[in-house]
Amino acid sequence: MKSFTYERPGSPAEAAAAVARRPHAKFIAGGTNLLDLMKLQIETPAHLVDVNGLGLDRIEDTPEGGLRIGALVRNTDLAADERVRRDYGVLARALLAGATGQLRNQATTAGNLLQRTRCPYFYDTAQACNKRRPGSGCAALDGVSRQLAVIGGSEACIATHPSDMAVAMRVLDATVETIDAAGAARTIPISELHRLPGDEPERDTTLEPDELITAVTLPKPLGGAQVYRKVRDRASYAFALVSVAAVVQPDGTGRVAFGGLAHKPWRVEAAEGELPRGAKATAEAALAGAHPTPDNAFKLALAERTLGAALKQARA
């Protein structure tokens, strides 16, 4: 690991200012992903700004009937919150499908959104990776791509976003609140937080480097049957090959987002009109324009079947 300096600011605005002040500075929260990447020298920050202990660890009711989740609320606490379990089952289920008990105790809400891809070529510093080293190429395109993206990728990158939680946040239309070094706050719909790779795969999100997530807000509960269905290579502690977050109303209408397929949680609102017609029609509409590799073409059939299983579970 490369050496770094470290500070603990007293407020979110001070934290953002501290990152803006120093070159190659980064926020650290739970650290479960960042420290892993620092050990491998994929991330080499010169300065760490520790945002634990800024009071961003509360879950509050909003006047609109939703929930405002502090950026530092741990994954365990979010999944265990009674309101989340009762009204946002898809979110609790997605959180509990991810990682391990030890990791969920450390990992935070904002950190979960900002975790980096687990593409093996991103992790292997001997390989070309445009996300890790812009302009170096993408070894995944002609490599082993079973886990990688089938839609929304580019000639520069076919990495996937690894989060389960983010897929549920996307189906719930969460919004992300941030503060920057000037103290200016802004609100970003979750649909606009994560980017497609295009020719800048090194940028995972639309956030500025000195922009700190302070909270994630959920609109009022959607009701309906809420399902998170995840398919992976082992029964626990593995990233998704395909996952489906679904909210289905008694009349068969609803919302659906997919994980494991793209550089961001994949939701196509226009395809949701097909939900009453079933999984095949919905998946075909949501995944039109997919560009799988021979290694991962199976994900298209798997996505349709996983959606079918999720819809069946929702009707049960």
Binding site: F4, Y6, G10, N52, L54
Partner: protein
């Protein structure tokens, strides 16, 4: 609460921890004083900021019960209990735990006074080589506390009800602790026996 403790921690850091060389991370160590309570004893250390909590305990406090298996949060051999929660000691910096209460396997039991879960592991043959065992036991003690606290898991059927101690719950919740000898079914038996022991509540 957080604001004042954060400021206190900042004030306690030497100037060098706040002002380092510009540019991407360097090679020269930057050190700081760290203080936390380990197994009931207050400890202070001057350490390289890069030191993980696991390395601080193993290499500097010589508490070698917690094991370094993968050093990437994948195996669980370093599991320890920090402020009542089990975490991977390898994936967190020691400097991030100023003032924390840390419990390792050495704090749970001793050869003369075993923790009931340690005794259950012996009785049910919950290990072979023993390398993963301290992490399994720290994790196992915390898992049963999590179930008692009503924290759900992927194996919990109804999210609006309190989870119970079942084999499915134990297996899912222990998935962050890998055992290459494959002692899993005996670990489940040991945990089930410990969970059913009324004395386990005060011992955890």
């Amino acid at each position: 609460m957080a604001g004042s403790s954060a400021n206190a921690a900042l004030a306690a850091l030497p100037e060098i921890a706040k002002a380092g060389p510009a540019g991407t991370g360097g090679d020269a160590p930057v050190t700081a004083r760290m203080a936390f309570t380990v197994n009931g004893e207050r400890r202070e250390l001057d350490l390289d900021l890069r030191t993980s909590l696991l390395d601080a305990l193993r290499e500097h406090l010589h508490l070698t019960g917690s094991k370094k298996g993968c050093d990437h949060g994948q195996c669980g051999a370093c599991t320890m209990i920090v402020n009542g929660r089990r975490i991977n000691g390898c994936l967190t910096l020691a400097v991030m735990h100023q003032g924390a209460e840390i419990t390792t396997i050495e704090g749970l039991g001793t050869p003369d006074a075993l923790h009931p879960l340690q005794a259950a592991f012996i009785r049910h043959d919950g290990y072979q080589c023993g390398y993963c065992t301290p992490g399994q036991i720290c994790s196992g003690v915390a898992v049963l506390e999590e179930i008692r606290a009503g924290i759900p898991s992927h194996a919990t059927g109804d999210l609006t009800r309190a989870p119970d101690v079942s084999e499915a719950e134990i297996r899912e919740r222990m998935s962050g602790n890998i055992c290459r000898c494959g002692a899993y079914s005996n670990i489940v038996e040991a945990m089930t026996a410990f969970a059913g022991d009324p004395s386990s509540r005060s011992q955890a």
